[in-house]
């Protein structure tokens, strides 16, 4: 069997990713999350008279709490498999990555398992966020001050 024929068979047998459906699901889920976030924020601002900044922070905390609880109850993984970026790109993905790595390595013990692997997935967000923000802030200082 020559190489091209083999590649063709492989291509036929690998399941096709439904790109359109994936994108539509991600858009819908992300949109719904944004919609609910704004809804909660407006409720907090108008009913509890919080400032916009405080209300936004509460919304973030609520989202992180819900994502952690749902991950611990182990049905968030299935949702992430289905909606992918719709749940990974919002802050829920950050909480999900920390909680799932904590759960996965719990069998290795509290220090060598949970402690050592806690930021395994979220580490790249923190590392590159902090490094890039540091240098971009210096650029901003040079431009504006």
């Amino acid at each position: 069997m020559n190489k091209n024929k083999y590649l063709k068979i492989v291509k036929d047998l690998t399941p096709k990713e439904k790109k359109l459906e994936n994108s539509a699901l991600a858009f819908l889920m992300g949109g719904v999350l944004g919609f609910i976030a704004e809804g909660i924020k407006l409720l907090l601002v108008y009913n509890l008279h919080l400032t916009v900044k405080d209300a936004t922070t509460w919304v973030l905390i609520i989202y992180i709490l819900m994502a952690s609880i749902f991950t611990a109850l182990s049905f968030f993984d299935k949702l992430v498999m289905k909606y992918k970026c719709g749940l990974i790109v919002p802050i829920t993905g950050f909480a999900h990555s920390i909680t799932s790595s904590a759960l996965d390595y719990k069998t290795d013990g509290l220090i060598t398992g949970v402690g050592a692997s806690f930021f395994k997935l979220a580490g790249c967000i923190l590392l590159y966020g902090i490094v890039s923000a540091f240098f971009f802030a210096i650029i901003k200082v040079i431009i504006y001050v």
């Binding site: 790109k19 994936n22 994108s23 991600a26 858009f27 889920m29 992300g30 949109g31 719904v32 944004g34 919609f35 976030a37 704004e38 809804g39 924020k41 407006l42 209300a55 936004t56 922070t57 919304v59 973030l60 905390i61 989202y63 992180i64 709490l65 952690s68 991950t71 611990a72 109850l73 182990s74 992918k84 970026c85 719709g86 990974i88 790109v89 919002p90 802050i91 993905g93 950050f94 920390i98 909680t99 904590a102 759960l103 996965d104 719990k106 069998t107 806690f118 997935l121 790249c124 967000i125 590159y128 966020g129 902090i130 890039s132 923000a133 971009f136 802030a137 901003k140 200082v141 001050v145």
Partner: protein
């Protein structure tokens, strides 16, 4: 009206992430990292703050906002404390997100049994 903007903006960010994920070999880790760095970059010219003021909380939910908060914290730290503020201000802005994620994740992992 901000409700509709929130829906559209947050959905669009997720859509862009999904398109990157589907059409390249990058992993979700790459996508979130790109978005954080992008958020910090958009913060240089205050673009993201303008988006937040138009869109509302829908723009605070995507991870792009995390990078923007990091940059804003560092910049305001510099304005208040000088060079020392570059180091003290950065995590002050994202403290709520990081601390709540760490605490809730730890408590959740303590009270649940690991899967197999």
């Amino acid at each position: 009206m901000t409700l509709v903007y929130s829906f559209l903006f947050c959905g669009t960010i997720c859509l862009i992430g999904q398109i990157i994920l589907d059409n390249t070999k990058l992993t979700p880790g790459h996508v979130t990292t790109i978005f954080v760095v992008l958020g910090a970059f958009l913060g240089i010219f205050n673009i993201y703050d303008k988006i937040v003021s138009i869109v509302g909380a829908g723009a605070n939910i995507p991870i792009v906002s995390f990078g923007n908060l990091l940059l804003n914290g560092t910049y305001t730290g510099y304005l208040e404390n000088g060079t020392l503020g570059l180091f003290t201000g950065m995590l002050a802005a994202v403290s709520a997100g990081v601390v709540s994620a760490v605490v809730f994740a730890f408590v959740a992992s303590i009270f649940t049994k690991p899967k197999d």
